[in-house]
Symmetry: C2
Subunit: 221 residues, 2 copies
């Protein structure tokens, strides 16, 4: 379409500005000694349930985690996550389908991040828009629930390709939905060869030990 | 952010152009006597399974349906839908998170749409981007699977608000995921008061009769 080149150019400038802010954030996070993980997925893949479980378990182990969560509307997720007793900030994006680094910068104002061990950033539920926006994180997790279909990595290759760790969620429902584990794993690997994968259930806690061990390896104490 | 006003302006021009193309399409569809329904939802809500079932049932009843399906990558959906024997075209959008009216115009080139009773347009799996793009359809369906969580209408109000019919899918899994039907229905209604709702399962066919009756009312024979 004739309108495409113009929007591509505007988008490129926004991305360039975002990358600068993200680089500043990354430097601040590193100096403060906080390990930062962001989460992307479809709406309803279980990001918030996974994060609530993660925050609660980390608090129990004596760690100091915090979270920033993005949504178009409502502060529901922040309210759910606040039950873990960890500091939580909600970003509402209105009609924007992704978070940007400047929003993270604003959200963490007033926090002494050197007092944190882990910061989690939950992006807006979307398998397209968040892929190009660096948020200064150390790793990006892409979540895929067993109920979504094994083909999603092939259909949304960019977001899977931009992630560092794939988390297959709601594994407790695998039998009920006839989840094809081999297909899902091989589709993830075909899009992002060598990407580590975890399978877990926030409901039954299956697989959470491996995730906790991964996090502990990033902040040994 | 300082970059927002510029992109908003570019987006407004694109939308204006899209609306013109959509209006032309709508007129063509009306003259040809084809009823057009578009489908939006999260990735993995079951749009393609629902559409495959719909096309197959319509063919069995002697109707002439066709479908256009959008995805970032792969022609998997078109291949699945082609099993119904209905004409199907795949649009691959690359990194674009929604379909636009001009893409539909191109996709249906070569089809004699006056030979069709129904045309279904399956949008890219996304609860944000497709909301502002008119595709010339008669009605827009928003799908919500029971596995996604009852809160999605509140978190993605714009797309629910732009739809004409809400379809709750994968109802066969309602018990397994402890789906709260009342909460889901009341969340849909709070965002879009009066919107008709259907509950169904493409797997067990539960609720498909009501959907077929709805379609038959649009194309009485």
């Amino acid at each position: 379409m004739s309108t495409q080149p113009r929007i591509v150019e505007v988008r490129r400038n926004i991305l360039k500005h975002n990358d600068q802010v993200a680089a500043e954030l990354r430097e601040r996070f590193q100096k403060a000694g906080v390990f930062v993980a962001s989460l992307v997925s479809s709406p309803g893949s279980g990001k918030t349930a996974f994060l609530e479980k993660t925050l609660t378990l980390l608090k129990e182990k004596g760690y100091r985690p915090a979270a920033v969560v993005g949504d178009l509307a409502t502060a529901n997720d922040a309210e759910r996550l606040a039950r873990s007793q960890a500091p939580v900030k909600q970003i509402t994006t209105g009609t924007l389908c992704h978070l940007e680094a400047a929003m993270i910068q604003t959200a963490i104002e007033g926090w002494d991040i050197s007092e944190l061990d882990f910061l989690f950033i939950e992006n807006v539920g979307n398998l397209v828009c968040p892929s190009s926006y660096d948020l200064g994180e150390n790793i990006r997790l892409v979540l895929l629930s067993v109920t979504e279909g094994e083909d999603k990595p092939l259909k949304y290759p960019t977001i899977f390709n931009s992630a560092d760790l794939a988390v297959i969620t709601k594994i407790d429902l695998a039998d009920a939905v006839e989840f094809d584990r081999d297909a899902a794993r091989s589709n993830i690997q075909s899009v992002r060869p060598g990407m580590p994968m975890l399978e877990l259930s926030s409901k039954t806690s299956q697989g959470m030990d491996a995730w906790m061990a991964f996090l502990a390896s990033k902040r040994p104490r």
